[in-house]
Structure formats: C-alpha cells, structure tokens
C-alpha cells in the first residue's frame, strides 16, 4: 500500500511539471493526438489503475461494516 501511495504522490507531482504539461508545446503528436492530451489521458488511466490496485489490496482485509 505504501508503494501505491508513493507512486500516487510521485505521479501527482509529475503531472504539474513540463513532463506532462510542457509550456506552449503540442509536439510530439501520437496517432494525431497532441502531447499534453495523451500524457494527461495516460495519467488519468494510471490513477484509475492505482485505485483498482488499492481495491484489490484492501479486498483481503476484513470489512469494518
């Protein structure tokens, strides 16, 4: 779980750096999609995947309800 949190925090930070949002730069295009758009899409998918992994990790633990 700590690894997942670490990955989430790192991705959060990276999302607001030129690695994902380079200023005024739309290149390189990937299958016709500008850079920030497909990087943003990947980040969104990555967070949903992290959520899925947390869910799978927590599933083993007993529910508190």
């Amino acid at each position: 779980m700590k690894l997942l949190d670490f990955l989430a925090i790192c991705t959060f930070i990276v999302s607001f750096t030129p690695l994902v949002i380079p200023k005024g730069q739309s290149q390189p295009f990937f299958i016709g999609i500008p850079y920030t758009m497909w990087m943003g899409f990947l980040v969104s998918i990555f967070f949903v995947l992290l959520t899925l992994l947390v869910s799978l990790t927590q599933k083993g633990e007993k529910d508190a309800d």
Binding site: D5, A8, F12, S15, F16, T17, V20, I21, P22, K23, G24, Q25, S26, F29, I31, G32, I33, P34, Y35, T36, M37, G40, F41, V43, S44, I45, F46, F47, V48, L50, T51, L52, V54, S55, Q58, K59, D63, A64, D65
Partner: protein, 471 residues
C-alpha cells in the same frame, strides 16, 4: 423542436413521478429520510455520485472550456477527478469507520463530535452554505437562460428556474435522499447517453480524432498545449484545482454523505473504480464538443456555441434529448447540494428526531428558495464559479481531514484558522484583498497555511497535551 422537447420532457417527468411514488416514505426518520437507510449498493451509489459530481458545468462549461482554453481542460478536470478517486478509496474507509462509530448525521455534526467543539461544526456548515448556494444558483440560472433562449416564446427565465426548483423540492420532500438517488441514477444515465450521442456527432463531423486535432491546429495551435490561448492553465491554477477536486469527497457534504451510506466497504471500492472510469468517459465527449466549437464557432459567445452544439446542429430528436440531459445535469447536482445543506443543519440540531427533521425539511425548502432567488439575480461564469466553490470548500479540507484522521480530540486551532482562511478567501474574491501573495495565488497560499496549521496541531499541541498527561 418544441414538440420533440415537450414529448421528451413528458417522458422524463413520467419516469420521475414513477420514481417519486416508488421511493415515497410514509415514516420519515433521520436515517430513512436524510441518509437513505445507510444501505446503498454499488450501482445506485456509482450513478448517484457521478450525477452529483457532473453538473451543468460539465455539459455547458467543459465544452466551452475546451473551446476557449484548449486541451489543458483535460488536466483541469479529468486528471483531477482520477486523482480524487484514489483519495476516495484511500481515505473513504477511514471516514466510514469514524462516521459509523460516531453515529453520523452529517459532516458538520461529525466535526462537533471529533473536535468536541460546536465551532468546528458551525465552520463546516457555514462554509458549505456560503460556497454551495451560489454554485446551485448559477447552475439553475445557466440552464434557465439557455432554455429561454431555445424557446423565447414559451416562459420567462424565472419561470424555468421556478419549475426546476419546484421539481427538486417536490421529490426531495417526498422521498428524501433515496428519491434523490434514484432520480440521480436516471439523470446520470441520461446525461451519459446525451453526451456521447452529441460527442460522437462532433467527431463524425471531422471524420476522425486525428483530423479533429489537425483542424484545431490550423485554427489556433495554442489550444493544443498549456496554458492555452488566454494563459489560464498555469501549473498553479491546475494544482489548486486538483487539490480542490481531490478533497471533494470530504469537503462537499453531498458527496461525503454518499461515501458514508454505501452499504459496505466493498461497494465503496467498486464505486470508486467505477467513478474513475465514468469520469473519463463523461469528460471525453465534452473534449470533442469543445474542439468542434473551436473550429466552427471560435468567436461565438458561450450561449451561442452551446446552442449550436446541443441544439441547432443536431437532429431535432437529439436536440430534445440534449435539452433534457442539460436539465437533468443541473437538477441532479443541485438537488443533492440543497438536500446536503439540510442534512448538515440536521446534524447540528440536538433536539428530538421528529422535531429536528421537521425543521430540516422546512430549511431544505428555504435553501431551495435561496438558490432560486440567487439564480434570478446571478450571472456569473459557470465553470469559474464552480471552481471557486470547489476551492472555497477545499479550505475546510485540512480541518475535516484532521478531525477524521486524528485519534484524539484536536484543539480549536484548526476551526479558528479555517474561519480566517475562508474570510480572507472571500475578501480576496471580492477584490478587497490581493489575489496573490508573493508568487503564490491566494487559494494556494491559504491552503498551505492551513496545512502548516494542521502540522502544528499534530506535531506540537498534541505532544504538549500528551506531556501534560504524563506529568
């Protein structure tokens, strides 16, 4: 088109009435009326949360944001929403444990218990009222102005607003939160289908996604990168927006209530994953609509552009569906917000349940009336006001999270600091105080101050208290 709209509207109202009858409560208690019995399954939980989260600002504001400011709008909302579902799954279970242990009636009441001070509850309730009522109003007014423009001969703007508020209050008063949730499910499905039908027609216009971006590039290349043509999407703007959205499940009572009343942690986990997928799928067609507008209507006003993309450029059947989807989007968020304000008030009342519920129901109608009055006099920009609302409620985030996560009762330092932060933020929005301090925008500066206060509370005050106990 008016005939198609009337037919679609009648079908929509018939299903609403059917759901009102199905969910009607004879015996109303806080648990059954305000908390839907605390037993919500994954599917209803997913759709009601999604419909509550994606409001008129998604249908109207996001396409316009993409059209005006470019693809940075994806980072602004879709990336932030995906981050939010991670926070939801990580902190949601802790919130549920604490809420169930302390007999949750509302977030304000929970703060009173966790802080051992009514001040914390008043701050949570006051912050919700101040930042949610204008947001509800601007949604209602936005949709009413749009409907009036579509059918200028029908009824005036205030007539549409009155009709929307009346529908919301009617089913909220009759069936409580359960009625809202079932209606949200209907409206969520409607919103989803509408967005995709219209989004697909926009892609169809270009032939493919790559051709769409190619044409946008030829019109205005700045739309394909950040900060966009008007320089809005700076890293700071995006960070503040992300923080505000990540904290939504804990700072906006209509969402935190839904997290708590899910029937099990397993249902919550499935809901969080589903919400992440739905967020991406809901925002994607608004990108297509925005890029369509950037090429075809680059200089049109928001209303003209939305009129074209939702109505005039569509077949009349789809246009009628677009209008109903728009109304559904506004209603499904506003009803939950108005009702959540009632729930928050109830959680602060310590009298007998029946009397407290009676007062709460009166105030739900009062909050509805307040939203109606504000909607008639307001004319703010939808997305930016939504963001202000998110940022305003996010100021309560550190206080709420500290109350939830702390094993001991914190001091009143956080509620007091939160009051100062909220006041400073309001004065900054009003232009009385500066909008930025040094290189930091006011929201980020205040948020960092509140985080620092929380660290002082945990690191120093807690330790001092423990040292006192040992002596």
């Amino acid at each position: 088109m008016l005939t198609n709209f009337i037919i679609a509207g009648l079908v929509y109202l018939t299903v609403l009435i059917f759901l009102i009858r199905r969910t009607r409560l004879k015996e109303k208690t806080t648990s059954s009326y305000l908390l839907a019995g605390g037993n919500i399954g994954f599917v209803i939980g997913l759709f009601t949360t999604a419909a509550t989260l994606f409001s008129a600002f998604t249908v109207v504001g996001m396409p316009d944001f993409f059209r005006t400011h470019g693809i940075g709008a994806w980072i602004f909302l879709a990336v932030s929403d995906a981050m939010m579902v991670y926070a939801l799954i990580r902190v949601g279970e802790i919130l549920r444990r604490k809420a169930r242990k302390l007999e949750f009636k509302g977030m304000a009441g929970l703060m009173v218990t966790t802080y051992g001070s009514k001040l914390a509850g008043y701050v949570a309730f006051g912050g919700a009222v101040i930042f949610l009522v204008p947001y509800i109003s601007v949604q209602i007014s936005g949709i009413s102005i749009f409907l009036n423009a579509a059918f200028p001969e029908a009824i005036p703007v205030w007539g549409w607003s009155l009709m929307i508020v009346a529908i919301m209050i009617l089913y909220s008063e009759t069936g409580g939160l359960r009625a809202i949730m079932y209606n949200d499910t209907l409206q969520g499905v409607l919103l989803f289908v509408t967005l995709w039908v219209i989004g697909y027609s926009c892609i169809d216009h270009f032939g493919s996604i790559s051709s769409m971006f190619e044409q946008v590039r030829s019109v205005k290349e700045e739309l394909l990168s950040v900060p966009g043509p008007k320089g809005l999407f700076t890293p700071q703007f995006l960070i503040i927006s992300a923080l505000a959205i990540i904290l939504l499940p804990f700072t906006q009572p209509q969402i935190s209530t839904r997290v708590i009343i899910m029937k099990s942690n397993s249902a919550l986990r499935n809901m969080a994953i589903g919400l992440g997928i739905v967020a991406i799928l809901v925002i994607l067609p608004t990108l297509f609509m925005g890029m369509y507008g950037a090429v075809l209507y680059p200089n049109a006003s928001t209303q003209e552009f939305i009129g074209h993309v939702l109505l005039y450029d569509q077949a009349s059947g789809i246009a009628a569906m677009g209008l109903i989807g728009l109304i559904a989007a506004a209603i499904s968020t506003s009803d939950s917000q108005i009702f959540a304000l009632g729930t928050e008030l109830r959680s602060l009342l310590t009298m007998e349940d029946k009397k407290a519920l009676f007062i709460t129901r009166i105030f739900i109608a009062v909050f509805g009336a307040m939203a109606l009055i504000f909607s008639i006099i307001s004319s703010e920009h939808l997305v930016l006001l939504a963001r202000t609302s998110f940022a305003g409620t996010a100021m309560m985030g550190p206080m709420i999270l500290l109350g939830m996560l702390s094993s001991k009762k914190p001091s009143i330092l956080m509620p007091v600091a939160t009051i100062f932060a909220l006041l400073t933020y309001i004065l900054s929005i009003a232009g009385v105080l500066t909008a930025s301090i040094w290189v930091l925008e006011m929201e980020l500066f205040l948020f960092l101050c509140l985080v620092a206060t929380a660290i002082i509370e945990v690191g120093i005050i807690h330790r001092l208290k423990q040292a006192d106990l040992h002596e």
